[in-house]
Subunit: 188 residues, 2 copies
């Protein structure tokens, strides 16, 4: 967490959202993680929390990223309409359903081969394209590098989510800026 | 879960609260467990959920049992004053603190030797007495049998929480009625 904190402190001005996705962390630990980010001057509006709607509500972060094991998006949306809700999806069909159920965006992947999913075939750009024709807010995840970011954007993704591409980079700040450069200026 | 369901269906009219404390269960599983209880005609007002404030809020159950890894009781109370909040505590000091922080009751234990805590020394009745002099709403847990229930009540506990004493009884309904008999009529 300490090393992660240092990286976040450095990069947060250059990203639009920070996801707290530590699935093994307890509610109390997540609460303290949000406090830590707040102390680093990360605005609450930039923070999304995985699964724990309650932690999002008491901390006042932007919203929650929901997965198959989470509360259903339609139920959360109905009860807490002000929370931004993202759904983690792995197929076109799941994506359609999530949007119908009220997801504000879908996190779709993994698009390219990813170290965190070594045994699963990546979804590739074609299904991403099919999905982005139906769902306006698709964030792509999985194996995304500065070099392939433009392909993902060309396929209709509204944004990208990156873990190892930043956190395991030798220079995380430079890595973030490389992504940002493609997103702002295209693949030049 | 199926066997548990059968037991709950039989015993729920004779208990005041059912705690869903399956710590390994996901939010979605807990949500479905509440629905299952509702189908069995267990009133929502009789159901408490461990840790997951969000599941309690969307299902409308009575409240949440909070532990050391959960959101802090003062924070939850402030944000959701209508939720009934119990705190799991293991000492007099923790109990005092929980009450100060706004817990509606404390769940204190384990009082007697318990199969679920084989390596920990039970707290015994003396500390329970000390605690009940300070905190009005103490529910005792841990190794409580129909035979020792009266001692716990005499020590000032407002109620008892039982797991194996009911769920592992040869006849769970008879076990519940034996506890109930002591609670209503004393140790006769």
């Amino acid at each position: 967490m300490e090393q992660l904190s240092e990286i976040l402190l450095e990069i947060h001005p250059f990203v639009t959202v920070i996801h707290l996705r530590e699935k093994q962390k307890s509610a109390r630990e997540l609460y303290h993680a949000v406090n830590l980010l707040t102390k680093m001057k990360v605005p609450l509006s930039k923070i999304m929390i995985n699964d724990r709607v309650d932690v999002a509500l008491v901390t006042g972060v932007a919203g929650v990223q929901l997965a198959y094991h989470s509360l259903e998006v339609s139920i959360v949306k109905q009860k807490f309409p002000d929370l931004k809700l993202g759904c983690s999806i792995h197929s076109y069909e799941e994506g359609q359903q999530a949007v119908l159920n009220g997801a504000d965006y879908v996190l779709y992947g993994h698009v390219f081969p990813s170290k965190s999913k070594p045994d699963l075939t990546p979804r590739g750009l074609e299904e991403l394209k099919k999905l982005t024709r139906q769902a306006t807010s698709v964030i792509a995840i999985g194996g995304i590098t500065a070099a392939n970011t433009q392909q993902v954007i060309n396929a209709g993704a509204k944004g990208i989510a990156v873990m190892s591409g930043i956190l395991e980079a030798r220079d995380p700040l430079m890595a973030v800026k490389a992504y940002q450069n493609v997103l702002e200026n295209g693949d030049v």
